[in-house]
């Protein structure tokens, strides 16, 4: 899509307004001015966050002679509503769009909104993706809607200095052995708190709920028919109880809040569940002062995944064929490796995960931790989880509920009731 040049003079706008009022019903929508006139195709790809596609896009442009423009909205919380509107209204979306793990089921609900990539040869690519990741991208009726890009995996980041001060081991192997289960993790937390380093053991219990339910697998919030099963799935309540029992160890800083980020800089807490994409965030936030302080150990409770994205092609695209090519390219094993190199996003392709670029990769900031190997391992052996269409809303509801518990504004039971009620509202 070509950029509009900034020469919309006031008079033209006024004339347009007059025309709109006068002509009203006769004014047809101007097509998004694609440069298709001379047979040259331009694709738009909508992304959020940092996906690491710059170099890859250049390669694609060279190899295919197609112009690709990346439109990026940094914050996924801003990106998703825009995408929703674009999809719902039938225009404005890119030819390829990124969709986050928590939202893909919701987008899949719209039967005709996305191209079935099987029509463009995607069915053969199943082997290029981890099983559970592939399944997440396939709609209940079998259409291949999304091709997996990155995954989160799961690790437990910890502050080596604070651990040292508290008399705990600092080597990541040893730390991993401290907590095979979440109860062990809580016990370690007690030990840490008693050592009185002035910092809290964790910043907030909020993300733990997502992590523990993910590890349990199955259908924590909704089943494949879209019904809420929060109260029916026993592991969900168990996860909630486990998590709320740890509120005493937390600094009660809501995740993603500015204060939470400031706390990272302030070294105000010692541990944090981290998927691969969280590493970049820690590095950016803690900056130079934090280099070498943070390390990554195995997460309690075994393998799991938190987050990740997909690429899909909306049916409103005027170049579905080329768009599918782009999507397939970016999500291919070599595409994922390219993204890994550029942005350290963890591939969802087994081939890429097992390649030396990933397994032998060490991240200097984190004490040269072999993050590729650590996260890769957790991604390979985990319980598949189904996230229904209203996952985002349920996530929000429980985040709020857990916040009210750790800040002392509600009891765990009260917060559970509220969160379930809110989830029911959202599921409509």
């Amino acid at each position: 899509m070509t950029k509009r040049s900034p020469t919309t003079r006031p008079r033209r706008a006024l004339r347009a307004a007059a025309a709109a009022l006068g002509g009203g019903a006769l004014l047809l929508a101007t097509a998004c001015g694609g440069g298709g006139g001379d047979g040259e195709v331009t694709l738009t790809i909508d992304t959020f966050g940092v996906m690491g596609y710059e170099a890859l896009i250049e390669r694609f442009e060279e190899e295919h002679g197609i112009q690709v423009e990346e439109r990026n909205i940094t914050d996924v919380a801003d990106y998703t509503p825009q995408l929703q509107q674009n999809i719902a209204s039938g225009s404005g979306a890119g030819d390829v769009v990124a969709i986050e793990e928590a939202n893909i089921a919701q987008f899949m609900l719209q039967q005709d909104a996305f191209v079935d990539l099987a029509e463009h040869g995607a069915a053969d690519l199943e082997g290029d993706f981890l099983d559970w990741k592939w399944d997440q991208g396939v709609a209940p009726d079998g259409r291949i809607v999304g091709l997996g890009t990155d995954i989160g995996g799961l690790g437990m980041c910890y502050d080596t200095e604070l651990f040292g001060e508290a008399g705990l081991p600092t080597d990541r192997e040893e730390v991993g052995e401290l907590w095979p289960t979440w109860d062990d993790y809580a016990a370690t937390g007690e030990e840490f708190t008693e050592a009185d380093t002035g910092a809290a053991f964790m910043s907030t219990v909020q993300p733990l709920f997502r992590v523990v339910t993910a590890q349990a697998g199955g259908e924590p919030f909704q089943n494949t028919e879209g019904e809420l099963v929060i109260e029916d799935t026993p592991t969900t309540r168990e996860a909630y109880d486990t998590v709320t029992s740890m509120t005493g160890l937390s600094a009660a800083l809501p995740i993603w809040s500015d204060e939470w980020n400031a706390a990272i800089q302030d070294n105000a807490f010692a541990t944090m569940p981290c998927p691969a994409w969280m590493l970049g965030h820690i590095e950016n936030t803690a900056g130079e002062a934090g280099e070498g302080r943070w390390d990554v150990a195995a997460v309690p409770g075994g393998g799991g995944n938190w987050g990740g994205s997909f690429l899909a092609v909306p049916t409103q695209s005027e170049h579905p064929e080329e768009a599918a090519e782009l999507a397939k390219f970016l999500t291919s094993p070599e595409g994922q490796l390219g993204a890994w190199e550029e942005a350290n996003t963890l591939p969802s392709s087994p081939e890429a995960l097992e390649s030396p670029e990933v397994t032998e990769f060490t991240r200097p900031y984190f004490n040269d931790a072999p993050v590729g190997a650590i996260f890769g391992a957790t991604a390979m052996e985990l319980e598949p989880v189904y996230y229904g269409p209203d996952t985002q809303a349920v996530d929000d509801a429980f985040r709020a509920g857990l916040e009210s518990v750790e800040q002392g504004q509600a009891t765990a039971d009260e917060a559970w009731e509220t969160a379930v009620a809110e989830s029911e509202r959202a599921a409509g």
Partner: protein
Amino acid sequence: MTAPTRAPRDARRGAGHGTGRGPDRAARLRATLDTKAAPYAFITPFFLLFGVFGLFPLLYTVWVSLHDWSLIGGNEGFVGLDNYAVLLGDAKFWNALLNTLGIFAIAVVPQLLAALLLADALNRIVRGRGLLQITLIIPYVTSIAAMAIVFSTLFGTEYGMINQVLGLFGIDPVNWRGGRLSSWTAIAVMVDWRWTGYNTLIYLAAMQAVPKDLYEAAALDGASALRRFWQITIPMMRPTILFTVIISTIGQMQLFTEPAVFDTGGAMAGGNQGQFQTVMMLVFQEAFRYGNYGYGAAVSWVLFLVIVVLGLINVLLTGRIKGAT
């Protein structure tokens, strides 16, 4: 009041502009047409544009509110007044309404009073008035989003500057977002910071339109400054005061940006227990995050009605201020 139409015609005839009937009748016609049609022509652009971009969306919202309408799935069936029935029994709606009204009370009343006093103070001084006026309008000039972020940071529980300053006085850090009253206060501070100066300047302009001889006469009669303020200034300013009250009411009831930015997590929840979720935030949450557009539309329509009622109440109350004769 427009002068009767006879005068111009007579005047023109008297001025000797054409003696025949033709030109006269044409002139007469034009004049009549002008007087009758001009007012409507003048107000047409406003109502026309409003019709398309204001009324139509409003009516469409009403239409949507009568359906079970999902943002993604679209129209899922006519449900009549169901959404409204649910709304009346919805604890979250009443909570949001309470929050909105509470923030309104805490923010607007002190703000307008302060603006009056500040305007009076400005009216009395001579030196430095220009500079002070500029400092007062600066908050209004700043970007709402950016300043909301600034204040959110200042009101942080652990690291916010306000708590740190309070700490200097031995006061425990306040969890601003955690409590109802505390969150309302923080938001009221944000709103007042932005709008007090604006209202002050409006009041100042009105005060300066009050004829000085009224004050002189009262001063000669021995009236104190306070009496002059209440007996002369306020009554003469009544239209302006009414204006600001109405604008503030309408604006405050739609409060959205400041509390939305103040919230952590961007979920439009207004705090972990909805302590400061305003009605507009609820609309956003329902329509955009939960996709319940039909219900969101119903809530926004009810908000509109509440604003109208509240506005009327305000007009009545302000009308109680003794007006100028």
